[in-house]
């Protein structure tokens, strides 16, 4: 029986690794790795995701094998007496310094990506700072229970004027252009998330965080609310449509025309 139990614990790293490899290389498990990417923003995040998983997988398999091996090797049926060992300062140092180095490396290594996604942009606005010298966002996103309102500044390029263009639950954006979006909430906390951009930003009422991204494909995608916002949270999704910049202008003009201007 002891052998069986050792093998059971051996199955954890082996099967775990096989499942993940199957997902990554599309063997046996189809479409089980990261969702497709529709913009350059995902590049860094996917790279980090893969890197972290490689490192983690090495540790996972290593410790798992070690555990299973010691269970097998040192099972009671196999040994008369256990060794009387209390400590080893060198081992302790070894397994403190190596993980510490790895963790510090990981932390430092991923810093630039966070910075690129969150800070290195002229639209960045620390909470509470004045917003006068910021550029005008491409679109203002207003979240409410349970839907999305997208407000474009219209022809005059400023918000809160009569020619603002309002679109409910449909966000049309030009592709291949950097989009700056300002997020607002009318009621509770929502979260603006585009899965295929690996983008997520909570919208706390009272704050107006900004996000920026670029989409390099034309097509229809989904925007989901990813923060619990009430009973209808699950249906708070909107369509994101990217079109060529010319088509975007046309679409905008079309709405402006219909509104009667």
């Amino acid at each position: 029986m002891d052998r069986f139990w050792s093998l059971l614990f051996l199955a954890v790293p082996v099967l775990g690794l096989l499942i993940v490899l199957g997902a990554v290389f599309n063997v046996g498990l189809h479409d089980a790795w990261l969702p497709e990417s529709i913009g350059p923003r995902t590049k860094g995040i996917d790279y980090l995701f893969n890197l972290f998983h490689i490192i983690v997988a090495v540790v996972f398999v290593g410790t798992g094998l070690l555990l299973a091996f010691s269970l097998f090797r040192f099972r009671a049926t196999n040994r008369k007496v256990a060794s009387y060992v209390h400590k080893s300062i060198w081992l302790e140092l070894l397994w403190t310094i190596i993980p510490a180095g790895t963790l510090v490396f990981l932390a430092m290594h991923q810093l630039p990506y966070w910075q690129a996604n969150k800070e290195d942009h002229r639209a960045f606005e620390p909470a509470g700072a004045g917003s006068s010298d910021l550029e005008t966002p491409t679109v203002r996103v207003v979240a409410y229970q349970f839907g999305w309102r997208f407000i474009y500044p219209g022809l005059d390029g400023t918000f809160d004027t009569r020619d603002d263009v309002i679109s409910e639950n449909l966000l049309v954006l030009p592709s291949h252009q950097e989009i700056v979006a300002e997020l607002r909430s009318m009621d509770v906390i929502h979260s603006f998330a585009i899965n295929k951009l690996r983008l997520k930003q909570d919208i706390v009422p009272g704050l107006s965080p900004r996000i920026w991204f670029m989409i390099t494909q034309n097509g229809d995608w989904e925007i989901n609310c990813m923060e619990l916002c009430g009973w209808g949270h699950f249906r708070m999704s909107a369509r994101l449509r990217t079109v060529s910049p010319n088509d975007f202008e046309d679409w905008l003009m079309d709405i402006v025309q219909k509104r009667g201007y």
């Binding site: 839907g147 309102r149 407000i151 309002i166 409910e168 249906r235 909107a238 369509r239 009667g260």
Partner: protein, 399 residues
């Protein structure tokens, strides 16, 4: 080394426990849901016409049988013969029924997306309904607020589809724009179906109060009373047909967009100023919507869905003991409605000039927003211009 602690095998109690547990899963699987009787309307009629004497149970039974004959059940919808053009039975079948476990869209769309608010019967009292403000729509009155047709006329298919696709901002009605076209089509037809069924039910219930002592709405069919039966059926059809015909003719009752000034777009400010005068003057919008347009004028009214029983049964909404029987029958606690805040950027029935024109011209059925027969077309357009301008106007006080 720890093997000396031997005890009896526990296989038998464990396995019997498993069997008992799995049996529990099948307990009370219950029957499929049925359409609920419009008990609020029944109570209203009893209070209004019969001083509270209940309508005989057998009459209610007859109404139920007739409805089942006409419209089937939540799982097996029918539609009265001769009106197949109105709804597509295939679409009804897709929207009806329970949600299939493989999530294929073959059936069950209504229960998947709508019934937790609007209820299986379309009575607007699903499990979620009571905590929503405004309440979900009760389809059974056949009244729809945001439509292109005239007052007291059913909406067109396009109107219902539009609400489904866009949702109603400022209410809990979400947008279903992400659903495929054909699923929305199915839901549109099912909403019509529930609404028509509700209207027929109401008409039949009303008819019950006209019956003489001992008379039946539709006597049981036997060889002896063949003639009576057919006569009675004819009478019933006389009640049903007008309702169906109204829906068939909905398309022809669309409010035309008359008199759009040619220079409407160019001279927006001009029309807007004119509209502002009308807002405060002739059209008297200010009375309900308030001087700042935030809807703080007249706030003491109820909508038609509540007035339906409040007024007809003469219930004082502030007296709990009068309201209570209706709540028990399935009504929701009366809640006053506010005139629309016109500064919310978007309007519930659509924000394009054409939408606004129809709201002003034809009013909003079911609410206290009246039609505007006294305003000329160009005056209505001027008001529309002002409504477009209003959200961006700065607050003013003491005009």
């Amino acid at each position: 080394m720890f093997e000396k602690f031997k005890s009896k095998s526990l296989a038998i109690p464990t396995v019997s426990g498993w069997i008992a547990l799995s049996a529990l899963l099948f307990v009370g699987c219950g029957s499929e849901p049925q359409f609920r009787l419009n008990a609020v309307h029944k109570l209203t009629l009893e209070t209004e016409f019969q001083d509270g004497t209940p309508i005989p149970e057998q009459h209610i039974q007859q109404v139920g049988n007739l409805l089942t004959a006409f419209f089937g059940t939540p799982d097996q919808p029918h539609f009265p013969a001769g009106h197949e053009s109105l709804v597509d039975l295939q679409r009804l079948n897709r929207a009806a029924g329970s949600v299939p476990s493989d999530l294929s869209t073959g059936r069950g769309l209504y229960r998947k997306h709508c019934s937790h608010c609007h209820g299986i019967t379309g009575d607007g009292v699903g499990p979620t309904a009571a905590s929503l403000n405004p309440y979900p729509r009760d389809f059974r009155l056949g009244k729809f607020k945001f439509k292109s047709t005239k007052m007291y006329r059913p909406p067109t298919d396009e109107d219902i589809r539009r609400v489904l696709e866009r949702g109603i901002a400022g209410t809990a009605m979400p947008s279903f724009a992400l659903l495929p076209e054909d699923q929305i089509d199915a839901l549109v037809d099912y909403v019509k179906y529930l609404s028509i069924r509700g209207q027929v039910e109401r008409a039949l219930l009303e008819e019950l109060t006209n019956l003489e002592e001992g008379e039946d709405l539709l006597p049981p069919k036997t060889d002896a009373n063949q003639e009576d039966y057919e006569y009675a059926l004819e009478l019933v059809m006389e009640l049903v047909d007008p309702i169906l015909n109204k829906w068939t003719n909905a398309e022809s009752k669309v409010v035309p967009l008359n008199g759009l000034p040619d220079d409407f777009q160019q001279r927006m400010n001009f029309y807007s100023d004119a509209g502002k005068l009308l807002f405060f003057g002739k059209a008297n919008c200010v009375q309900c919507h308030g001087e700042t347009g935030i809807g703080d004028g007249q706030t003491e009214n109820y909508d038609d869905w509540t007035n339906e029983w409040l007024k007809r049964a003469n219930v004082d909404p502030h007296k709990r003991e009068q309201v209570q029987p209706f709540l028990e029958a399935g009504a929701l606690l009366p809640r006053k409605i506010r005139p629309r805040n016109l500064r919310e950027l978007v309007f519930r029935g659509g924000s394009q000039p054409a939408d606004l024109y129809r709201r002003v011209k034809a009013g909003i059925e079911g609410s206290n927003m009246p039609a505007a027969p006294t305003l000329s077309d160009s005056e209505v357009w001027a008001l529309v211009a002002y409504l477009i301008e209003l959200p961006y106007e700065t607050f003013f006080s003491d005009e």
